[in-house]
Symmetry: C2
Subunit: 342 residues, 2 copies
């Protein structure tokens, strides 16, 4: 069993810098398309055998140091009672968004072993398959990010409706966030119980918030989750995307590891975060289009920049793009291993 | 003539902190819709009488301290020979994107008094109308931002094609950027000659770049523009949107004023930028949904935060949203004036 990923999360000695890649089980892999071609995206998430199969693909093809559960952050709002569709060009659509206290009242805090049982089944299957290989990461969306989808009814550019609720109806927003947070906590606890060996909280849209709003409307819920999950005893990773201006606050969230997007220089982030938290990141996904010599230089720069942190897990600064040649992803994995081999 | 805006750009004493609002002539104003209802968006840009009319609306309705030419950054690629359409839901579309050296070869560096003569006509009309009121700001897109539209063929999330060209065909990218930069320089020179009293360079997508890419693929062209425009003798404003992580470099661009989006705390930005450059910004456009007492507190915080800068022009951190009630925009203008009246 390759435990470098888990050791890096805790700041322990590693044989090489571990690497995994956000969306590593995904559309850039022909093997993924073979499975995905048979079912819809949500069916893939909800069929443990298939979700397990695509989760394992990058472990075998790329040689990454961790697997991450194939799923989607929006299964949580769906389990809370919201309708959810994935439209080919538009992305996720929640046709009945939350806009009022009455809408909030309709949301349930689901029993995850019931409503999200397929996720726990996938995790149990995966742990068997991964036994001699690498650790398994579970995940969820952070409450603010989930709230944006639930309030906007899908993706957004300005997050107008979300911020309108935050600013003009803060009590409705808080009531909704309490339900989302409770749902996320029990969902992550169930993932850990089923066998997830680390948990990542994705705050994909945190970067849309001014610092004062992040402090008031997003961070407290993240802290509540991390506090509640501490007893589970697995490393906790918080990734606030586009979050360079939030680091002074994200570093207080209690996570073992902070994910970093590519906009921030990793050495600058480490200066702010300090030596007591591990970091994860942060190569621009588009950098995989560079010629190999230049790509290797960028990888080296990130490895050097992370040296002051408690630990470093190499990753991209955002999900790998569907257009990426798989051999370039493999090159990144091999290069990180080669450059850091003890 | 209210010259507070021009004085703030230069760091001179002002009667009150001047304010204008990005996209202040736009869809949140019923008066704008009355004009826009008669013509397409591009027709509005290209009809000097109508462009003049909508440019003047916020000066009269809101009492802002500067007018900004009603136009679009994409008139430059169109003048360079590219087809341009605005589709109601999709936004701008350039159906024949630049992907090869042959595509770059087809681009022309236009004579702006010919291809963009309608802009200069609008500026001359506006200067007459604004004579006793406020200064007029001209503008253009920064080369990197224009390049993203020209290469992607429209808006993008990942800027995959743009970065692919940067990384895999840097000489084609450079050739294209040279033409874009030359076009922008002569366009801004013509705007200044026609009467624009300040010029803003919008780098709307700069925040998609890692610092090393910004330094290599975006900033040199901005510097070239600013150097070329210095002899025009009008204040130059550079706005790198989502650019908190770029400030160490943007401050070297030579602009008199740096625009700031709402993600960065203005006092943190001023610490990095120093006391020799004025700043412009940076209220979250969504903050206009706050109750007035909370909105006023945010405005005060920004005014306080900007105190170490050479000068401060109040603005939003991004364009005003179409959903904004005009009376809230008026409240912001009045509040900035009231809180800073000498």
């Amino acid at each position: 069993m390759n435990t470098n990923f888990l050791r890096a999360c805790k700041g322990e000695a590693v044989d090489h810098t571990p690497i995994w890649i956000m969306r590593q089980a995904g559309r850039y892999l022909p093997d993924y398309h073979k499975v995905r071609g048979k079912v819809t995206f949500l069916e893939l998430c909800k069929t443990p055998e298939l979700a397990c199969e695509v989760t394992l693909q990058p472990v075998d093809i790329l040689g990454v140091d961790a697997a991450i559960l194939f799923s989607d952050i929006l299964v949580t709002p769906e389990a809370m009672g919201m309708d959810l569709e994935f439209q080919e060009k538009r992305g996720p659509v929640l046709p009945h968004p939350v806009r009022s206290q009455a809408d909030v009242d309709k949301l349930i805090v689901p029993d995850p072993t019931d409503k999200l049982g397929y996720v726990m089944d996938t995790i149990r299957l995966l742990r068997k398959e991964l036994a001699q290989k690498v650790p398994l990461i579970g995940f969820c969306g952070a409450p603010f990010t989930l709230a944006t989808y639930m309030i906007e009814g899908g993706s957004s550019k300005s997050f107008f409706e979300t911020k309108k609720m935050m600013y003009a109806a803060p009590e409705i927003y808080a009531n909704m966030m309490d339900k989302v947070t409770d749902s996320v906590i029990s969902y992550l606890q169930a993932q850990a119980e089923a066998g997830a060996q680390a948990l990542q909280v994705f705050d994909s849209w945190a970067g849309a918030l001014a610092l004062c709003d992040f402090e008031e409307f997003a961070l407290p819920y993240v802290k509540r989750i991390i506090n509640a999950l501490k007893p589970a005893g697995v490393p906790l990773i918080y990734f606030a995307n586009n979050g360079a201006t939030l680091l002074e606050k994200t570093k207080t969230c209690g996570a073992d590891v902070l994910g970093l997007d590519w906009r921030v220089q990793i050495e600058e982030a480490v200066k702010i975060i300090g030596p007591d938290i591990a970091v994860q990141g942060n190569l621009d996904p588009c950098a995989l289009l560079l010629p190999e010599d230049k790509l290797e230089k960028r990888i080296q720069r990130i490895l050097d920049g992370a040296k002051g942190a408690k630990g470093h897990i190499f990753n991209l600064g955002h999900g790998i793009l569907p257009e990426t040649p798989p051999e370039k992803a493999k090159f990144v994995v091999d290069t990180v291993h080669r450059l850091t081999a003890k």
